[in-house]
């Protein structure tokens, strides 16, 4: 048996296979802020994330995400993301800048919103600017001005503010 044949018959078993911690998440670029986690305490607190992020806990400070962000928790500060999904029960107290698609479902937001496309089904206190398209679903309550390229408003939505639709 030559050297090549020898190694072909060897089954290499990784010593890490039994380690559940390594199995839990293979995606190195994903950041998860667990529901019991609180990030705060510095004057210029910030999270700068090169990949994607999921926030279940509480964050005080700037959140800057290169990829997509999913919010289930509470953020007290500016949020920048490529793509942003805000899920039910979450709260954002600060401005939102989203470079592509923003989707807000049943959240509570105090701050100005900028996005390319936005779907909103939430309570919002602040101005909304959607450069391309804006959809407002029936359980929305919006206090603030809206500027967008095109809009659709489902019956039942509550609006208080100026509306500007301009191509």
């Amino acid at each position: 048996m030559n050297e090549k044949e020898l190694f072909q018959s060897v089954n290499f078993e990784s010593p890490f296979q039994s380690d559940n911690r390594n199995k839990a998440n293979n995606d190195d670029e994903l950041t998860i802020i667990g529901s019991s986690t609180v990030i705060e305490g510095k004057q210029d607190s910030k999270i700068i994330c090169g990949g994607n992020i999921e926030i279940m806990g509480q964050v005080k400070g700037l959140v800057d995400v290169a990829g997509s962000a999913e919010i289930y928790g509470t953020i007290d500060g500016l949020v920048n993301a490529e793509q942003l999904t805000v899920e039910e029960g979450s709260k954002i107290n600060g401005d939102i800048n989203c470079r592509t698609t923003l989707s807000i479902n049943g959240a509570d937001i105090v701050g100005n919103i900028k996005a390319k496309n936005a779907y909103i089904n939430a309570s919002i206190k602040g101005n909304i600017e959607a450069t391309n398209d804006l959809k407002i679903a029936n359980s929305s309550v919006i206090e603030g001005n809206i500027a967008t390229g095109s809009i659709s408003i489902e019956s039942g939505a509550v609006l208080a503010g100026n509306l500007l639709v301009k191509k």
Partner: protein, 198 residues
């Protein structure tokens, strides 16, 4: 000076010495009884002594917070579950469960258990209820307080260990070590003052 005065002076000196002896005895009270662990969690019983079995928050049992490899957090982190730091944290990290560090932390760490994986770097103190495990290629600049410490890495700082310090052949420590017992493998680099107490 009369003889009575002299006797009185001698007595004073003796009394002073006795007082000093008492002071020394006070110092020799086991080091770890004096350490109070302040939990970052409000629902945690603060009267629990430092090395008592950790109280866990039910909700967060087994929960993981993960700091991705390209993420930088410039803030303090408090976490009821466990944490994995692959990226960079500039600020303190307080964890109820275990802290698994692959990246860099510039700040103090408080956790039940701390593991530094290959390539991890900690610039700050580590306070740990159970074990600190520093794998090779990792680096700690700061003090370590823990129950047990397994050092395969480079440490610059003082160690206060209740039970056991194990330094393997790739380990190196510069600083003071106070411990219950110590084992050093040949090849380890030590530039330390060591005190072993029971």
């Amino acid at each position: 000076m009369s003889e009575n005065n002299r006797n009185a002076q001698d007595l004073d000196e003796i009394l002073e010495k006795i007082e000093n002896i008492d002071e020394v005895k006070e110092v020799e009270v086991p080091l770890f009884e004096n350490i109070k662990f302040e939990s970052p969690f409000k629902n945690d019983d603060k009267s629990v002594s430092y090395f008592a079995t950790p109280t866990t928050i039910e909700e967060s049992d087994g929960e993981y917070t993960v700091i991705g490899s390209s993420t930088v957090i410039d803030s303090n982190i408090k976490c009821g579950g466990n944490i994995k730091v692959k990226g960079q944290v500039k600020g303190s990290v307080s964890v109820n469960g275990s802290a698994d560090i692959f990246g860099t932390i510039e700040g103090d760490i408080q956790a039940n258990e701390v593991t530094l994986e290959h390539g991890a770097k900690v610039l700050g103190n580590i306070i740990c209820k159970a074990d600190v495990n520093a794998l090779d290629d990792s680096k700690i600049v700061g003090n370590i307080v823990a129950k047990n410490a397994y050092i395969n890495s480079h440490v610059e700082g003082d160690l206060e260990i209740l039970n056991e310090v194990k330094i393997t052949s790739t380990g190196s420590i510069t600083g003071k070590i106070v411990t219950g017992s110590i084992s050093v493998a040949s090849g380890a680099v030590l530039n330390a003052i060591i005190s072993i107490r029971r």
